[in-house]
């Protein structure tokens, strides 16, 4: 057993919530607005890959208790093919995490620490995350539990003060061109909702398994609700301008002006972003390290944390020459390949597992 730590089901749910939501709040409104226009708040409700990945993670864990999707895959499609699939996951988590780290760095440098070199911002974050991941799943889970109340409070502190300035007519006409534009928006959102497959790697360490399904459904519902609220607030405040900003939610925080006293609250959003990105990077990094260690049959994942952390910094600098190029890649090729790896491959594995089980049942019966 590579990992000896245990977390509770509620910690796992909170971890998954904070794993999915931070970058979704930051970058998804612009990407959805491009295709869905004023229906961008409907897209999170219709995004179905979250449900599929959660369902598969839970069912696969019920079929193969105590095993994550890679270990289950080795049993379903055999040792060799299983190892091939098992290599794709750590590589993809490393790559995706590189994108997240880069997004974090670009945002902090672009909006707050203008004169700090990117490498310093990236490097310090990855170092902190490496220390946390070295501590094991328990530490990651506790950080998620610790940061979630702060995250939600800060989120509400941004949303509530702007409620009087919201203009309902910005969201009209609702579904003016039918449901198709919001469905096109869900294609963009698959990127974030498919990240729920991470739950498959966390599930084996959950102590109270009977609450696992409930807590992840709450997390999925909370993600959808948060995205609907943040997208709606952005749209109602900025209207047609939503598509013009790189980070519309940051504009919301800048807009707040309470009695000429509370102004420039973008530092609040920066706090949300740093907390959220920290948990997200930790979770992805943990999965990378864990699945890499399992792939290499190591008895302990701790020795490879720092080398993989260094690799993570390199990948984050390597993914794209600049932020614009990265957002283009995220909404096109990265989105599709993430969908393939995080949704299509698990669906395939799950289908094969079901077929195998049915065949096995027939054999024993006949």
């Amino acid at each position: 057993m590579v990992e000896s730590g245990k977390i509770s089901a509620s910690q796992a749910g909170k971890l998954l919530y904070l794993t999915v939501i931070p970058t979704a709040i930051l970058t998804s409104p612009v990407m959805i607005f491009k295709v869905a226009k004023q229906d961008l708040w409907i897209s999170p409700i219709l995004a179905w890959s979250g449900l599929i990945t959660v369902f598969i993670a839970l069912r696969l864990h019920r079929m193969f208790p105590g095993e994550n999707i890679i270990q289950a895959g080795e049993r379903i499609i055999g040792k060799f093919l299983g190892k091939m699939v098992g290599l794709i996951f750590p590589l993809f988590y490393l790559y995706l995490n590189g994108i997240v780290v880069r997004e974090y760095g670009e945002f902090v440098v672009g909006a707050l620490l203008v004169n700090t070199p990117l490498i310093v911002v990236l490097g310090s974050m990855v170092l902190v995350c490496a220390i946390v991941v070295r501590g094991g799943i328990e530490i990651v889970g506790r950080f998620a539990e610790l940061f979630l109340p702060a995250f939600i409070t800060l989120f509400l502190l941004i949303i509530v003060p702007i409620i009087p300035d919201l203009n309902i007519s910005n969201m009209l006409p609702v579904m003016g061109e039918g449901i198709a534009p919001s469905l096109a928006g869900t294609l963009v959102l698959q990127l974030w909702f498919s990240e729920f497959i991470t739950y498959s790697f966390i599930l084996p360490f959950v102590t109270d398994q009977k609450n696992a399904a409930k807590s992840i459904m709450v997390a999925l519902g909370a993600v959808i609700l948060t995205l609907v609220v943040s997208n709606l607030a952005t749209l109602l405040l900025l209207g047609e301008l939503t598509g013009n900003y790189a980070y519309p939610f940051l504009i919301l925080a800048r807009y707040i002006n309470l009695a000429e006293f509370f102004t420039h609250l973008e530092s609040l959003f920066m706090a949300i972003w740093v907390l959220g990105a920290f948990v997200k990077i930790c979770a992805f990094f943990y999965v990378t390290v864990l699945s890499a260690a399992q792939w290499m049959n190591l008895s302990d994942y701790k020795p490879i944390v720092y080398p993989l952390g260094f690799l993570l910094i390199l990948v984050s600098l390597w993914v794209a020459p600049n932020y614009q190029e990265m957002t283009r890649a995220i909404s096109t090729s990265v989105n599709l390949s993430i969908f393939t790896v995080f949704v299509a491959i698990p669906v395939l594995l799950f289908g094969l597992a079901c077929v195998k089980k049915a065949v096995h049942k027939n054999k024993t019966r006949g």
Binding site: K34, V35, A36, K37, Y95, E177, A180, P181, L183, A184, L187, A293, M296, N297, L298, S299, D300, K302, P303, I304, Y306, P307, L308, F310, L311, L314, V315, L317, W318, V319, A320, P321, E325, M326, A329, T332, S333, V334, L336, S337
Partner: protein, 82 residues
């Protein structure tokens, strides 16, 4: 400037190795091999990126692999959003 980066990378990798290597017990052969391979990979990639910053990355690979699909979905989304 480039040599400063090379020096920095070497220092970091040496510090990581000095910190982690003593913790690996003699019987942990697999772990030692994994650590060594990953550290060498780190060093190689870091030096390559210092001297050739425009080295084609994983994103270009994915772009090339998903080109036809991206085109298909791009058209689909354009059609749906009207």
């Amino acid at each position: 400037m480039k040599w400063a980066a090379v020096l920095g990378i070497t220092t970091i990798l040496v510090i990581i190795t000095l910190r982690e290597w003593p913790k690996l017990r003699p019987e942990m052969k697999r772990e030692k091999a994994a650590f060594a391979i990953l550290t060498i990979l780190d060093g190689t990639l870091a030096f390559l990126l210092v001297f050739y910053p425009d080295l084609p990355g994983p994103t270009q690979g994915l772009d090339a692999m998903t080109k036809p699909l991206v085109k298909f979905f791009g058209n689909l989304m354009a059609e749906w959003s009207g």
